[in-house]
Symmetry: C2
Amino acid sequence: MAATLKDVASKTGLSIATISKYVNGQTIKQENKEKIDAAIKELNFKINYIAKGLKSNKSMTIGVLIPELENVFATHIMSRVEDTLMNSGYSTIICDYKNDTDLERQKLSFLLNRQVDGIIAVPTHLSKDDLAGLEIPIVLIDRIIDGVNCDCVLVDNKDASFSAVEYLINKGHRDIAIISGPKDVYTARERTLGYIDALVQYSIPLNESYIFHGNYDTQSGYNLTMDIINMQKRPSAIYVTNNEMTIGSVIALNECGVDIPNDISFIGFDNIDFAKVTKPNLSIIVQPRDEIGVTAANLLIEKIHDPDTEKRVIKLKTSLIKQASVSIRK
Amino acid sequence: MAATLKDVASKTGLSIATISKYVNGQTIKQENKEKIDAAIKELNFKINYIAKGLKSNKSMTIGVLIPELENVFATHIMSRVEDTLMNSGYSTIICDYKNDTDLERQKLSFLLNRQVDGIIAVPTHLSKDDLAGLEIPIVLIDRIIDGVNCDCVLVDNKDASFSAVEYLINKGHRDIAIISGPKDVYTARERTLGYIDALVQYSIPLNESYIFHGNYDTQSGYNLTMDIINMQKRPSAIYVTNNEMTIGSVIALNECGVDIPNDISFIGFDNIDFAKVTKPNLSIIVQPRDEIGVTAANLLIEKIHDPDTEKRVIKLKTSLIKQASVSIRK
DNA sequence: TTTGTAAAGTTAAACGTTTAACTTTACAAT
DNA sequence: ATTGTAAAGTTAAACGTTTAACTTTACAAA
């Protein structure tokens, strides 16, 4: 069907090895170059990556493991990962584990059985044991796992929360609610800690009833915000710690006619497109999603080329986009 | 490094062929079965798909081409595609083309060069020529391309719009706005046609100024809804034709204090999670996303196993979820 | 015991590349 | 004309499987 090196060889009268060398960039007589180019074009020859992979023991394929394909934060990063890898000749096999612990392990081993040259993962419940003794490089995103030789790209979640809450404090707020994620998720714990740190640093007493734990989806953002709205002592500001919950939260506030920022100040997370759509535009913590993706891909490629590079942990900065959703507390 | 059939063979004293046969399900002496199982376990043998692929000329990999990795509709479908394919032993290479015509072609040929056994695509600007004469099966989602031997899974977009608009008409509405997608996109054209059909069928004069074309993103949903709100003759109902624009539209209405359904009736599209979060819950057209994904994957697998199956076009039904966002027009 | 035959196992070639080791060619220097 | 040598090209083995064709084994039937 598809033409092989052999076909090109017989068409040109040269040997297979010569064609292979030319295709792989070695020098060759000008005259033969032309002959080969012509033959390649005529036969529509394309290198067979499977055969190449067998010989070289490289599949030129990277596995990617994410919590959910509907998770916009993850897919945005993956989009950049895919681009970056493709520019280096790699394909990307994406698996999602639907936020399921068993599936997470299962899909990881699926990838490992597929001769991928490396893996980029956004893990939730993977542990040291799952990743120990692996023969290929792995880059972790969003979560660091101790005792394992995986590079890692994350943001300073604690600092992100700190800066959001500090900003609210500087605007005069004392009663600040946080809608954080699940207690057993690394990013959620860090984001809660940053919130607490800021209060402590500014000597504001911690009110446990202002700390809410959602599960990072729109519905829980909506529900918890409803709870906040109905509190006897309603906080003067809400800080919501992910993309989906930010949407749910704004919907709830809108529906109840709670005005941002006159009735309540608001800082959201991640969803920059959404933040630009609402009036007033939302103040928001944004993660450098493009940079996360590109960095992770590059770390992986480097590690593949030189497996001896030592473990690197890259902590990127988030930024706080200040818009009109935060008012000065009288 | 990784153990091969050869290693298992020498460990058991059997020939490579015997191991291969056993691994592929042929019968074998009980005694040898046990020996082989033990050796496989001890050596942690895993079949090498690259070598297997070289021999069988199958990569057991499917390419997937979608407009954008951030497109929730597409990724939801892909999530089901991935599952279904994985259950049949296939990996999924996902490429997104960022809504870019050139990239769309580029990524398609990237996939074609990768020995994928088949492709599932959600095309935007691919034409007959791009798909003609391909040697592997292709399944198209959401758009049919004439004159090309590709199976196709889509929903009845015209009928979807028709039923939404008919429902509004039956509730007494005459002035119905539609926020449709880009004029050059197949689904948008169909959805607009269904809107028009319904008006025609019920002898309601068509008001061109009620037909809006966004570009399927949140911002355009927001902007066009603002335009609608500010019309001198404001319609009594809005029908929004995709996921992202539905969010933008609701945000705009909420912000302007336009009450759903008392001030305006509303029917959205696709975003069932979002529709459940708002109060009142939104009436919404939902596409059978799971079914689309599973169907596309199954069509592809069937076509791979039997390339002679004739072209099939599967048109699935959408459904209209009726919730409190539509009121009776006095 | 011999024969027939089904089941189990083996041999070796093949898939499309790469690459080490080798040969041939081309041509400058003598 | 001879030699030396760098460049260009070739040969053949290898990567880890599968599989057609073959051999061996086991055992029931005669």
